[in-house]
C-alpha cells in the first residue's frame, strides 16, 4: 500500500505540473497555433496522468476488497474516460487549427508558411 501511495503521489504531481504548464502557456504564447500546442499536448498529458493516478488508487482498493467492490466500476470507467480524452483532444485540436487558418488567422512570427494563399475546398 505504501509503494502504491508513492506512485499515486508521483502521478498526481506530474499531472498537475503539466496541467499548470498548459494553462500557463495558453496565456503566454503569441498566436492561436502556438497556444494550441501548449493547450493540447500539455493538458492531454497532464489529465492522462491524473486519471492514471485515480486508476492506480481505485484498482488497489479493488484488489484489497475483492471482485465485487464498487471500485471496479470506477477504475474501468476511468479507463474509458482516458481513451475518450486521448482520441477527442487530438481531433478537436486539428479542427480548431484548420478553422483558424481558413478564417484568415496568420501564424505570428512565422519563418515559412506553405499554406499561405492556397484555397482548399473539400
Amino acid at each position: 500500500m505504501g509503494a502504491l501511495n508513492i506512485v499515486t503521489y508521483v502521478f498526481i504531481g506530474v499531472g498537475l505540473f503539466f496541467n499548470a504548464v498548459g494553462s500557463f502557456g495558453l496565456n503566454r504564447f503569441p498566436d492561436v497555433y502556438t497556444r494550441l500546442h501548449a493547450a493540447t499536448k500539455c493538458t492531454t498529458f497532464g489529465s492522462m496522468f491524473l486519471i492514471l493516478a485515480v486508476i492506480v488508487q481505485s484498482a488497489s482498493i479493488w484488489v484489497m476488497e475483492g471482485a465485487l467492490s464498487s471500485q471496479s466500476v470506477l477504475s474501468i470507467h476511468a479507463i474509458i474516460a482516458l481513451v475518450v480524452l486521448l482520441i477527442t483532444n487530438a481531433t478537436s485540436a486539428h479542427a480548431i487549427a484548420r478553422a483558424a487558418h481558413r478564417s484568415g488567422e496568420k501564424p505570428a512570427r512565422a519563418v515559412v508558411d506553405d499554406l499561405e494563399g492556397k484555397d482548399i475546398n473539400d
Binding site: I12, A20, I51, S92, I96, A99
Partner: protein, 83 residues
C-alpha cells in the same frame, strides 16, 4: 490527498477562463474553451474518487463526447461553411 489536486485544477481552469474572456478572435477563445473542457473531465474523475461516487465518471465520459462534438461544430461555424 485528492483535495489539493482538485484545488490546483480549479486554479488552472480559472487561468483558461481568463483567456476565454480576453483572447483576441474566435479561434483563440475556442481553443481556451476546449482546454477548459479537458480540465473539467479530469477534475470530474478526481472528484469521483474523492466522494466515492461512480456516476461522476459516467458524467465525465458523456461530457467529453458532447464537448468534442460541440467543438467540431463551432470550428465548422468559424470556417464559415454551411452545415
Amino acid at each position: 490527498m485528492w483535495l489539493p489536486a482538485a484545488i490546483v485544477m480549479v486554479v488552472c481552469m480559472l487561468a483558461c477562463i481568463a483567456r476565454i474572456f480576453i483572447g483576441p478572435g474566435a479561434p483563440t477563445r475556442l481553443a481556451a474553451f476546449d482546454t477548459t473542457n479537458t480540465l473539467v473531465v479530469a477534475l470530474m474523475v478526481v472528484l469521483a474518487i474523492m466522494f466515492e461516487q461512480v456516476i461522476f465518471v459516467d458524467v465525465a465520459i458523456v461530457y467529453a463526447l458532447l464537448s468534442f462534438i460541440m467543438t467540431l461544430y463551432v470550428a465548422r461555424f468559424i470556417e464559415g461553411k454551411k452545415f
